[in-house]
Symmetry: C2
Subunit: 304 residues, 2 copies
């Protein structure tokens, strides 16, 4: 069933130990929607400038992604550039030109408002909240955030995630948000803030889902060669939300834990593919069979 | 079947964010043998000084650990003291008094030489090699090492691990030993050095076993409260080697992957218990049922 994805659509300049690309399609909304498109119909809300290339529109459209909510306005598309550390676990931002994204005020097209699933990429919490308010009666709403909003927009963020069914963040963000070092304690605190499900992403080390009454952990996929981790967390989110939507889960309270666990594995699958090429390149050739084969690989290397 | 464990027996002074203990039983041989004793008969080879307390002898003996090879000599027992960082992923050494351990030259009692299993704790590679040479015809030999030996005793270390069936090291050591960043590539290089099995320990993030034709990963156990990580890697080794010994595995080439995977999970189980208290305190009350229950917990939180 249909998933609405909201967030940044951008151009990125990325340097990793594997190479350098000066300008390539990026942004959370882009990565989330591409990953989710392997599971369920997806429509996006975002904003781009006059420089947004037709080939990038074609890539998204070619994956069947609904673009009615992709606004094109005068000015330039959001541009970000950064350099990764040798082990790619850290990165330094070189450039952040918000451009048309500075005044992004997401408006859902009428046709989106009855959609059952909503995934909010990492943007200002008040904007995430306003999008949630534009939906009629979504079955499941979730999203991502980051250290900046946790630190400087805490009250807005708390008001926003109170209305969410799931929150996806990394381990340092979970510790920051909760004030707890132990992830179990952190999850208890965060889940008491609203989201029934908490997914803690741990980069190359895997991910853990906390649900009412337990948790599920999956180790990271061991890549032969890590090329570019940009967007991996967003692809995780796309796989996770896309799979839940594909299963028609009516609400997170009634979802069985096997379905939730499989959503985490599909998230991990999509994140792992993302890292194999620069930017979104892996999605130019990736097939649904590739996704399924890697899911089975996860089964093999975790089963005992 | 019987497992021989060789390594340091020590007193440690440890400071962690959870507290401080000035002097407590420690040492790789101690941790490995205590953990392995839950699975199989264990006998140790080590050296202590005149200050080694009867209550510590009693703890080991109480777990049924054979102490014929625990030499007591004039002088003081090896003493180490350190302070852990806030997240306990790093530690700083404050004191290393080798004392009687400085001249440790492990001699296997006659009764040990026919034992089928040998686990070599982290000591000078040439000493590990000499112990291996004293065994008649062990079914499985493996051990641990560390960055110092990899960096400064590389040739000795390579000659030593060439004769091993398994090597247990952490991810940074695997990268240092192999010169490869990707753990898959690192494992290929290291396994070509001799050990058919490589276990890469990743601390709180879990562990991965590389075997001929594949790998198996288990995520870390989420502790409610991490008290003291000292010895966790050694307890992992004890659980891993102890379980293999308990299954009477005739050689690693013929071991089925399910048995190997379960050995990794039992290693993780024992490492997780170790972190719940200072030093070896958890083993004063831990039962075989506790071990089995946690193994089942691992099944539950990894199954999908």
């Amino acid at each position: 069933m249909s998933l609405i994805v909201v967030g940044s659509v951008a151009y990125d300049g990325v340097t990793t130990p594997a190479g350098k690309v000066d300008r390539m399609l990026g942004g959370a909304c882009t990565y989330i929607s591409l990953a989710a498109s392997y599971f369920t119909p997806v429509s996006i809300v975002g904003v781009v400038g006059e420089d947004f290339a037709q080939q990038d529109v074609d890539l998204l459209a070619g994956r069947g992604i609904g673009l009615e909510g992709l606004e094109r306005v005068p000015g330039k598309t959001f541009f970000w550039a950064g350099v990764y550390s040798e082990d790619m676990n850290d990165r330094e931002t070189l450039t952040t030109d918000l451009n048309v994204f500075a005044t992004f005020n997401p408006k859902l097209p009428e046709s989106y408002r009855k959609a059952p699933y909503l995934m909010l990429g990492n943007i200002q919490p008040a904007l995430q909240r306003s999008v949630r308010a534009q939906m009629e009666k979504p079955a499941i709403v979730g999203g991502d955030t980051m250290n900046y909003w946790i630190g400087s927009y805490r009250d807005e963020l708390l008001a926003t995630i109170r209305e969410w069914d799931f929150l996806l963040i990394n381990d340092s963000e979970a510790r920051q948000l909760s004030g707890e070092r132990s992830l179990i304690e952190a999850a208890n605190v965060i889940r008491s803030m609203g989201p029934r499900l908490l997914v803690i992403k741990r980069g190359e080390y895997g991910a853990t889902l906390f649900y009412p009454g337990g948790h599920f952990s999956v180790p990271g996929y061991l890549l032969k060669k890590l090329v570019d981790p940009t967007g991996a967390g967003d692809c995780f989110a796309g796989g996770f939300a896309g799979f839940l939507a594909s299963q028609g889960v009516a609400d997170v309270a009634s979802a069985d834990t096997a379905t939730l666990a499989r959503a985490v594995v599909y998230g991990s699958v999509m994140g792992s593919f993302c890292c194999e090429c620069f930017g979104v390149d892996r999605f130019r050739s990736l097939t649904r069979d590739d996704v399924e084969n890697r899911f089975q690989e996860f089964r093999q290397f975790t089963n005992f």
